[in-house]
């Protein structure tokens, strides 16, 4: 009896192993996972140097893992299981009662390198500089972390970064504005980033510093364009039990309009772009509804008739913020360092803008190579 059962075990287990192997070999391999919103690993290429230091096997493991049969379903199951048997932490993301929070803030490299590069940039140009360093949701909702986890890491990171900026740069304390309002829907539940409302709350302060009075909330009509947004934290965890997010588009009907909006890629090719285009809700990352995939350089001209020009240097946090600025400036140039591969001076003449606004998440501050091209 036991002997026969053991033979059945052998056949069953070997069968499962071989079956998954066959599924893997003959399954079609996607280059891009819509569910995880990322490029999957390429077929590893053999080279002696890679084999020598073990890189080849690592690549093979990555490739096999990324294209493992039923990966999406397995990851979703893994999220469920790991919250069951241990703390509510899934792949480095904390599942708080109603939202996902990234736990990697403490691992960020917090050298002053980024601040130094930005200081140099501001020294070299006459334009008046303003800096908004935006916390991620784990900074604003840090109180929801387990008690043993450090709570105000991001606050400290922002403060230390602001302290290393030179005195000429005006800093805007987005952290405390957002922290005070954290009862409201200012951050997505499934994403690191702020909602359009969160961006609006900070806009009110920023625009005053820039010398304008803010457009009151009542002037805007808010359209809920999507009720099923799952953001970057969902991509990591595949945790489905959090309520999906709503994406809002703010329109100022009576306000100024956009005359033209042109994006440029790194080789200078122009392309027309529509801000807040609902058609982009079909893309894997719905947040792209605001400005589309990150372009290195963007030029927006509006019907505002004051000849004021603003240069914005931003990361993804800026995407839902920029539409608010279009009510105040005749021309806005938008630079995304993460997509920029050519020196900044070759795409835009910084000195022709009287003001420069940096609007970036605190998580971008740890990668100083982001700012290398600003000074070239």
């Amino acid at each position: 009896m036991a002997e026969n059962m053991s033979k059945i075990t052998a056949v069953l287990v070997l069968g499962v192993m071989i079956l998954f192997g066959i599924f893997f070999v003959f399954g079609n391999k996607k280059a891009f996972s819509e569910n995880e919103n990322r490029e999957l690993a390429d077929t590893p290429e053999f080279s002696i140097s890679d084999a020598a230091d073990g890189e080849l096997t690592k690549n093979a493991e990555k490739y096999f893992t990324d294209h493992f049969p039923f990966r999406d379903r397995f990851i979703a199951g893994s999220a469920k299981l790991s919250t069951l048997v241990s703390e509510s932490i899934v792949n480095g993301v904390y599942v708080s009662g109603d939202r996902l929070l990234d736990m990697s803030a403490e691992k960020r490299d917090t050298t002053d390198k980024s601040a130094e590069l930005i200081n140099k940039f501001c020294e070299d140009h006459s334009s008046a500089a303003y800096f908004v360093c935006v916390p991620t949701s784990s900074g604003v909702y840090g109180d929801e972390f387990p008690q043993y986890y450090q709570k105000n890491i991001e606050n400290r990171q922002i403060t230390s970064f602001y302290n290393s900026l030179s005195a000429d740069i005006r800093r805007i304390d987005a952290y405390n504005i957002l922290k005070m309002l954290n009862e409201n829907y200012i951050y997505y539940r499934n994403d690191n980033k702020w909602t359009t409302y969160g961006a609006y709350c900070v806009y009110k302060t920023v625009i005053q510093k820039l010398g304008f009075s803010p457009i009151p909330y009542s002037k805007y009509t808010v359209e809920h364009v999507d009720f099923d947004f799952r953001g970057d934290l969902y991509d990591i965890t595949q945790y489905k039990d959090i309520v999906p997010d709503t994406i809002d588009i703010y329109k100022c009907i009576s306000g100024d309009k956009i005359k033209s909006c042109v994006s440029y890629n790194n080789s200078g090719k122009r392309e027309k772009l529509k801000l807040c285009d609902k058609e982009r809700l079909d893309s894997p990352y719905k947040y792209d509804v605001y400005m589309g995939e990150t372009k290195p350089y963007l030029n927006i001209k509006t019907t505002v008739n004051n000849n004021r020009k603003l240069l914005v240097i931003k990361d993804k946090f800026g995407d839902c913020f920029i539409p608010f600025l279009t009510q105040h400036y005749s021309e806005i140039a938008v630079v995304s360092p993460e997509a920029l591969r050519v020196p900044l001076s070759s795409v835009v003449n910084v000195d022709s803008y009287e003001q420069t606004l940096f609007i970036m998440g605190v998580n971008s501050m740890s990668s100083s190579d982001l700012f290398e091209l600003l000074n070239k």
Partner: protein, 459 residues
Amino acid sequence: MLYSSLLFIYIFLPVSILLYYVTPTKHREKTLLILSIIFCGMINLWFLGFILVYVAVNYIALRTIDKFSERKEIASIPFAAAVCFDLTAILIFRTKYFVSLLSSIGVPNGFFPLGISFFTLSAIGTLIDVYTGKMKSDKNVLRFALYIIFFPRLIMGPVMRYGSFNKAVRERKDGLYEMGVGFTIFVKGLAKKIIAADNLYMLYTAVGRVDYGELSALTAWIGITAYILCLYFTLSGFSDMGVGISYCFGVRLPKSFSYPMSSNKIRYFAARWHIDVIHWFRKYVTRPVSRNIKNMYARKGVFIAVWGVFGFWYTFSMNGFIWGILIGTAITIESRLDKRRIMVISGVIYTFLIAAVCTVFLAEESFSGAFRYLLAMLGGNRIFADTISLYLLKSYIVILLIGLYTSTSLFRNMLMRSGKNKLSTAFSILSPIAVTGILIVCTVMISYSGSSGMILMKL
């Protein structure tokens, strides 16, 4: 590539088994050697090169020792040289002092020959056996190479004498039945590692984040319980996986752990913990050293010191040494104090408490850290329990209970006692489904990262 990675479980392992069984019986051993070489090469080519040189040096030394077995003074030269070579290798890779030397000869950063602590013991043991004339060296270089690099034995042993390994390979009995047993043991080890150890490690690191000056006694105890269970499940999990894989090829290796957590005396705990390694130290260090010592106290001293060396072997740091000394001392004191029988339950609790207190030194990197942690366990921070301990208990209660239950022999005993009744039949009918099910659960749990890389200590 560890045994607990998707690539290994779903590609390397089934392909190896198929290749092994399609090879004619005569050549199956060679297939195992080739598979092991591929396994080493997949870790990286540096490792393959290193281990082949290692095999060659030890093989040549063994043959030379044998050749001059009549003339000890000449045989002692290759013996000493090979032992020095093996010890130098383990010192270079397990301590931090040679990093710049290694990188200057082009060794990639972070290169570590996994399993070096185990195959060093195997190699030195064989050298001693041949030198002292207990056995003849084997002419068969392929068998000797397999002894060192047999891939199921590479990562976490078990350490065994050349003679026993030789016998296990020579008299192997392979077939579908063995494969079934092997898979059952392999999946058991995989579950120990992925389900138990990885989650317990999360708990242990969570406790480690609290400042030791504010650690409540309960949290500290939860943390050390998690650590000791995690250590047990990691070591025995890898060892089980190895034993299971090798069983699939019909090679029966001994197991390294025999439910140490359910011992009712610290002496039994020590006898069931990492049996193969402790046996090695007793055979090749304790016995030869204390053979000529008549004084009882000095013999006890040697016994404790060798435990210290065993602890040092774990960590290559002072704290591991202290752990060993403490366990050795506890065994010595216990055997002097108490000859009475202890009740099972109180005995198990007593053993666990002693083991937990000692293991603080294994868990902590520095002496002062271990001391502060111990103080917290004894309530030195004047907090018995706080919200952190309650939160951790609530979050990890499932895994802690599963861990405590399965680390003792309770489950096995239940199966044994059930004898020939219906329960036992039910279990054997369910076992194929249970094994496959657990394999799938483990696959799910590593599906995101593709492998479970936490190894707690680099052995």
